[in-house]
Amino acid sequence: MNIDSITLLNWARGSGFEWALAIFIFGTLYRVLTLLMLGRKRNLAPAKSAETSAGVRTVFRRFAPAKGLFSKAPLLHIAGITFHLGFFLILFFYTPHIEALKTVLGFSWPALPNSVITATTVVTMIAMITLLIYRITDPVRRFISDGHDYFIWVISFLPLLTGYLAFNHALLPYTLMLALHILSVELLMVLLPFTRLGHFIAIFFARFYSGSDIGRKGVSS
C-alpha cells in the first residue's frame, strides 16, 4: 500500500500536532519566564505617578499608530494593521479552526461566515505581499532586513496560502493540501517562540515595560 496523503494528514493531525504544540508551549513559556526572571533593577527614586496603570494603558494604546508616524508611512501602517487583524480573524473565527481550538481549549465561540473568512484571507495575503514589496523596494527597509526577516515572512505566508488553496480545492488534491496546510501551521507553531515572531507574546511585556517606565517618571504614556 502506498504512503498516501491521508497518512500524511493523519500524522499532521496526530503526532505532528502533538510535537508542534509541545514545542510551542515549551518555547513560549521559556521565553516569557526567562524574560521575567531577568528582573528589573530596583528604582530608588520616588514614583511621580502610578507605573502599573501606565504600563497597562500603553499595552493597548500602542495598537493605534503613533501620532505623526501614520502620515509618514500610511501604506506600511494600513498593510501592517490589515495583515495582523486579518491573521487574527482567520485564525480565531473560521469554523474548522474553532473546532481545532476547541479540542485544545475545551470551549468554543461563534464563527464568521466562510465568505467573510475567504475575503479576509485574500486581503491579508495582499497586505503581506505589499509589505514584502515595500521591504524590498524601500532602501532603508532593505538595509535593515536580513534573511531572518524574509524567512519569517515565508513561514507566516504559507498557512494563509495553503489554507486558501485547500478551501478552494485548488492546485493539489484537497487531502494533500489540507495536510500541507496543517503542517505549515505546525512549522509556524514550532518556530514562533524562537524567531522574531516571538513578538506575538513579547510585545505585551515590552509595551508594559516602556509604558510603566515612563509612566513612573510622570510622562503620559
Binding site: D4, L9, F24, L33, T95, E99, L112, N114
Partner: protein, 360 residues
C-alpha cells in the same frame, strides 16, 4: 459451462429484446462515463463477449461486501452482469463445500488459465498462517496460487484494498492488502465498507467491454467512480460554503439538513461515488440519511481520529503533552535564569573598581 456462450445468448435466453439490450449498453456507457458515440462499440463487444470465469476469494472479511453486491435489485445492470459471469468459486455463495469447493476452484483455474478474473475481499494475515485458513490452506498461499494465472485481480472492499478493519491499530494479525502481496498482476481496487454494487459491476462491465482495466488513480481505484470526493458532489455543500453546520444530531441545523462537517464528516477527504450513484437503488447515501461520511473508501479510515470528530481537529489528547511541555518550559527557564545569574555574579566579582589612584 459453454465457452462460446455469449452475453447476447444469455440475454436472449432471459427474454430481453435487442432494444432492451441497447438500453443496457447506453446505461453502461453512462455509468462508465463514456460518450454516446461509443454505445455501438459497447454493444458489439458485449454481444460477442464470452462468459468470463470469476474466482472469488474471501479472507479476513465480514461478508458485508458479498452482502452488498448480492443486494443489487433485479433486473438491474448488477444482476445482468452477475447472472452473466461464471462465478466458479465463492465459498459463501456456492453450494459445494470443503474439498469439492476447492476442486471447483482448481478446475476453474485450469480451464481458464490466464483468462479468469480473481476477485478478493478481506485482508490477508501475515502474522501467523493459522490466523485464517480455507480447507487447510492459509490465505496468503491461496492468494499467491490463485493470482498466478489470473488475467486481472479485483480487490473488493477496504479490507482487500487497504487492509481495512483487520489492519486497524493494533493490527493483531499483521493484516495486509492484496497489493502488498501481489506485485506482478494488474489490480483494480474497489474500496468501500462495503463498496457500492454498481461500482463493482461497473468495473466488471468495463473489463468485459474493453478487455482492459479502467484508468486508476494513485490508490489503484477506477477514476470513473472514485474521481470525485464526496464533498465535491455533496448536495449539502452549499451549507458548508455558507458556514451553516449541524452542531448535534438532533438540533435545528441537523433537521434543516445543514452540513455535517462539525459532526465529523470525512466527505472532503473521501473519494467514492456515494453522492452520485447512491445506495439501495439510488435511494440515498449516508449524508442524505443524516450521518456524516466516515471515509470508508480511504486507507486506514478506522484510525483517522474518530468518526465523529471534525476533520480539522487534532486526533490526539493534548492534556499530558501540554502538562509535560509546561513543566519542561518552567524547569528550563529556571535553569537558564540560574545560569544567567551565576554569570552575572561572576562578572560582578571580577569587576575591579578603578580609582584615579590606580591611574597614576
Amino acid at each position: 459451462m459453454s465457452k462460446q456462450y455469449t452475453l447476447m445468448d444469455h440475454l436472449q435466453g432471459q427474454g430481453i429484446t435487442r432494444r432492451g439490450f441497447l438500453k443496457f449498453c447506453s446505461i453502461t456507457a453512462t455509468m462508465l462515463a463514456l460518450p454516446p458515440s461509443l454505445i455501438p462499440q459497447i454493444a458489439k463487444a458485449l454481444e460477442s463477449a464470452k462468459r468470463p470465469s470469476v474466482i472469488w476469494l474471501s479472507f479476513q472479511e465480514c461478508t458485508g461486501c458479498t452482502e452488498s453486491i448480492t443486494r443489487s435489485h433485479a433486473p438491474t445492470i448488477e444482476s445482468l452482469i452477475f447472472d452473466f459471469i461464471s462465478l466458479d468459486y465463492h465459498h459463501t455463495l456456492q453450494a459445494a463445500s470443503g474439498h469439492a469447493a476447492e476442486a471447483a476452484r482448481e478446475q476453474a483455474m485450469k480451464d481458464n488459465e490466464d483468462q479468469y478474473i480473481l476477485v478478493v475481499d478481506g485482508s490477508i494475515p501475515t502474522g501467523n498462517p493459522g490466523f485464517s485458513t480455507i480447507a487447510g490452506i492459509d490465505n496468503k498461499q491461496m492468494l499467491i496460487d490463485t493470482a498466478k494465472h489470473a488475467a486481472a485481480i479485483v480487490a473488493v472492499g477496504t479490507c482487500a484494498t487497504y487492509g481495512g478493519l483487520p489492519h486497524a491499530d493494533p493490527n493483531p494479525t499483521n493484516a495486509v492488502a492484496v497489493s502488498d502481496i501481489i506485485k506482478d498482476k494488474p489490480i483494480i481496487n474497489v474500496p468501500g465498507c462495503p463498496p457500492i454494487p454498481i461500482v463493482m459491476t461497473g468495473v466488471l462491465a468495463h473489463f468485459l467491454t474493453f478487455g482492459t482495466i479502467p484508468d486508476l488513480d494513485d490508490l489503484g481505484r477506477p477514476k470513473m467512480f472514485y474521481g470525485n470526493s464526496i464533498h465535491d458532489r455533496c448536495y449539502r455543500r452549499p451549507f458548508y460554503e455558507k458556514g451553516l453546520f449541524a452542531e448535534t444530531f438532533d438540533d435545528e441545523g441537523a433537521k434543516a439538513g445543514w452540513c455535517l462537517f462539525k459532526l465529523g464528516c470525512k466527505g472532503p477527504t473521501t473519494y467514492n461515488a456515494c453522492a452520485t450513484a447512491k445506495w439501495n437503488e439510488g435511494t440515498s447515501f449516508p449524508i442524505e440519511a443524516g450521518a456524516p461520511c466516515i471515509g470508508c473508501s480511504q486507507p486506514d479510515f478506522w484510525d483517522n481520529g474518530g468518526f465523529y470528530n471534525a476533520l480539522s481537529q487534532p486526533t490526539i489528547s493534548i492534556g499530558e503533552t501540554a502538562a509535560a511541555a509546561i513543566a519542561a518550559g518552567a524547569v528550563a527557564s529556571v535553569a537558564a535564569s540560574a545560569i544567567h545569574k551565576s554569570a552575572k555574579a561572576k562578572a560582578a566579582k571580577k569587576h575591579h573598581t578603578v580609582t584615579t589612584d590606580d591611574m597614576e
